[in-house]
Structure formats: C-alpha cells, structure tokens
Symmetry: C2
Subunit: 142 residues, 2 copies
C-alpha cells in the first residue's frame, strides 16, 4: 500500500492519456479494433469498486456516463460496455467500449479475444485529438 | 419502448430474485461456478449506463458497491468484477461477481466461458437465504 497515486505500468504501456475528468485519467487503449477508453480514478490503493468513497463513486459514475455518451455519439453506435474487472491489472480501472454488431468479439466480451491491433500513427493521432476535444467539452458539464 | 418496467424474460429465466435495493432488483444467477449477482434498475427503457438519470446512477453505484462488499465478505475473496455489457440481453443490468484464482475462467472474464452449472436444490436454497439475509441487512445503510 502506498499513499500516492501512480498509474499502473501495464496501463501506462497499453494506453495514451486523452484527458482528465474531475477524478480520473481517461486513457485511450492502443487497440484499433474498438473505440476503447479506460478511466482510472487518481486515488491510491483502489482495487475494487467498493473501495471508492461514496463521493468518488458518484464522480466516477458521472465520468463514465459522460464517456459512454461521447463514444455513442462520436462512433454512431447504440451500445457501450462498461466494466471494472481488474483480474490482471489490480489497480481499479473502468473500461468503456463502443460496441458494434460487426466487431471482432460481438456479442461476446472484448477481453481475451485475439490480439490488440495498435493504431497506425496517423489514425491514432486523429482519434486521440477527436476524443480529447469531445471529452474536454463534455466534462465541462460535470 | 414502453412506460412500465418488466424484467427481461432471459434474465427472469436465468436467475432468482434475492431482494430489492432502493432502485434495483438483485438477482442470483443460477450458475454454481461463481457467486454471481445481477442488479436490474426497475426503470423502463434503459439500455446503456448513460441512460440512467444522475440520481439513479448514484443509487445504482451505492447498490453495486454494497453488493460487491457483501460478496467479498461472504465468500472471503479480495476480488469482484462489475460489468454492464448487455450485448445479448439489451435491458440494462449490472453483473457483480466474486472471483477466485481457481475459478474456471480466471483470470479472464466469466461471460461466454463453458456452460452454466445450475445449483442443486439444497445449495441453491442455502445460497439464496444467506445472500438475502446479508443484503437486506446491508441495504439498511443505503
């Protein structure tokens, strides 16, 4: 246990920071198969959802709903998946993933299916810029 | 779209009602491989997490944290998974599952792995009674 927050090295290796909400880093997963964001509350020593304080739970819920709505709008889909698993990376983190009926894992969960496909440089840069603008705008209402 | 809530027939077929929180049914999944509860907010026409009102989001978060803490305590584990997927059953529902390093899907997600193992009558009845007592007690603090 430590008293300061630092991002788990596996999350740092797999993602790029998009922006920050009131509580959490919002990270873009480097996997072009899905529009896939991960929220990580910037609090030390969190493992499970019930480790959050009531106030932080509410804030994470507001952030998660905002991210879900942004993904639906930006990628023109009706479905997102929201999940806090953490069986491999223990630091509490919340996946928010836009899903499509023709994506490689549909209708199953995305975790553990196939191999990540890293973004090419231009596509990754564009996606990051677009989502950053969308989220900065949407977080103003929190 | 309809204006009254009714539980999706697939959830009704796969689960048994444990109790009700302030917002949600709490259902026991009929799969003896995992201690597996499902919360279903009793509101019509919900699909994604961002369809909930801000107040209902907060309540579902409080219920989910309570259920997670009850499962950890009752089954003496350090890990729960929380997920709202809904790719197959569109009605918004939140899985809360106690996980163990020797369970059949560890460390992967539980969905789509193998076949459900229905409880035998006595074990199912005991589990339901135990969780009902735990949750009724824990929900008093919400």
């Amino acid at each position: 246990m430590s008293n300061t927050f630092s991002l788990h090295p596996q999350l740092a290796a797999d993602t790029t920071l998009v922006t920050d909400g009131p509580l959490s880093h919002v990270l873009l997963m480097n996997d072009a198969r899905y529009p896939w964001l991960i929220l990580v509350p910037k609090r030390p020593d969190l493992v499970n959802f019930d480790d959050l304080s009531a106030d932080d739970r509410k804030t994470l819920g507001d952030e998660t709903a905002t991210v879900s709505a942004v993904l639906k709008r930006r990628f023109d889909t009706q479905k997102t998946n929201v999940a806090m698993l953490g069986n491999m990376v223990p630091q509490l983190h919340c996946h928010v993933v836009a899903r499509f009926t023709d994506d490689p894992a549909w209708p199953g969960p995305i975790w553990g299916v196939g191999e990540a496909q890293p973004y090419d440089e231009e596509t990754g840069r564009d996606r990051l810029a677009t989502l950053r603008a969308d989220l900065i705008s949407a977080f103003k209402h929190l």
